[in-house]
Symmetry: C2
Subunit: 218 residues, 2 copies
DNA sequence: GACAAATATGAATCGGTGTTCATTAAAATT
DNA sequence: AATTTTAATGAACACCGATTCATATTTGTC
């Protein structure tokens, strides 16, 4: 009779796969994707390099997977807020603040996702990531326009502007070394939000300065 | 007696150097920096690969030089406008429109400068490029705030927002293949400007829709 | 024209990483 | 226990473009 994959084996395989992904993510989290070399990933995961290729067809796919997992977490947070309670303006405000302040907290990872020089494959994932951000913003904008909270605009373009403005404004401060943000971060976030909210044409951009920071861990 | 470099030789050397830079720039202009391989540059410039290394210490330096030349041209255009006649609001408007519409015209080159995945060395040049954009915007903003045209803001952060918003909003459309812009470009530019001008808090953002396009070639 | 110095050449080399694969170990079936 | 199938190993390999360097050519002096 032929060989049959036992549950316990399947579990161990899944476990190894997780280990590999976690190892890769940790490397990325403190050295960027540049630090995610196959040898290092293998070492950190406690497997041989060849083993990596039993779980992922190539380095590119492994990295993409890491990118997707990390970015999916961020996007879920934003989507939850975007689809939650409150007026469009309130939700936009909350989404923007969350985006920015989470990026600041998870600096290195955020830098890797948003700004680190990466190769073609990852650049593609990054583009997807940006596009999704844009869609989240665009949805809220549409609702806000419908409800009369915002003036009429091309929501795609406006959303793209927001999706570009936030990371760029954060990048100087986001650079792996800079600790400049540890004190001024609130101010930076407020300033960015003011720009974006005014940009969409929100008429009373009174920013709630004392909103509690999002409590989900990075 | 010792050898002495003749004028005619000096001229020829300078000429070769130019040829190399031009060849590289042309490759970048229609294939991005990825297409600027030393072999290709040499072929296009009509010299041997080894010769390249008599003029530039490394590929990185050659590419940086190309980046600087191309970006300097763009920045000069913007600086000229920024330091020109008119109210801060008018100049900001003009700078933004020029930035965006020039990027659209020189699509491939703009994409290479602003968005193409590049290696560390070029990423550094790109960061410098962005920073300079920011400074140009920031200067105008400061003047506008002083003159009372804009509300008071942190000009560095606001400028960074603008410097990020424009390229990102253009990127989808800027991607090498997309011809989507050939028709809609005016609309896209207007929409981006509306966002940015509103973002800085310009109170009457009546955009001059019929401003002549800048006439300097890309 | 002869000699020396500078310049150009391009095939061969090098370097760094991702990937492979012959071999070994582990797990499942009879 | 023997046999077969799957999983893991890691040293060797492959790749690919940047870089080098021994050689040839051109230019400058006497």
């Amino acid at each position: 009779m032929a060989y049959r994959r036992t549950d316990s084996v399947a579990a161990r395989l899944a476990d190894t796969r997780r280990h590999i992904l976690n190892a890769a993510r940790e490397l990325v989290a403190d050295g960027g994707f540049a630090a995610a070399q196959m040898t290092e990933v293998a070492k950190k995961a406690g497997v041989a390099t060849g083993t990596l290729y039993r779980y992922f067809p190539s380095k590119e796919e492994l990295c993409r997977q890491v990118f997707r997992e990390v970015s999916a977490r961020e996007m879920n947070v934003l989507v939850t807020i975007a689809q939650g309670e409150g007026s469009a303006a309130e939700r936009l405000e909350s989404v923007l603040r969350t985006f920015a302040s989470r990026a600041i907290r998870g600096r290195r990872l955020a830098f890797a996702l948003l700004a680190e020089p990466v190769d073609l494959g990852l650049a593609e994932e990054r583009a997807r990531f940006r596009r999704t951000h844009g869609e989240i913003f665009a949805t809220i904008l549409e609702e806000g326009i419908t409800s009369g909270e915002f003036p009429s605009r091309d929501v795609r373009i406006t959303a793209a502007c927001i999706a570009g403005a936030i990371p760029t404004a954060l990048i100087g401060p986001l650079a792996p070394e800079s600790h400049e943000l540890d004190e001024k971060s609130d101010k930076v976030v407020d300033e960015i939000m003011q720009f974006c909210l005014a940009g969409v044409g929100l008429l009373q951009p009174r920013i709630k300065m004392k909103t509690a920071e999002p409590r989900i861990r990075a």
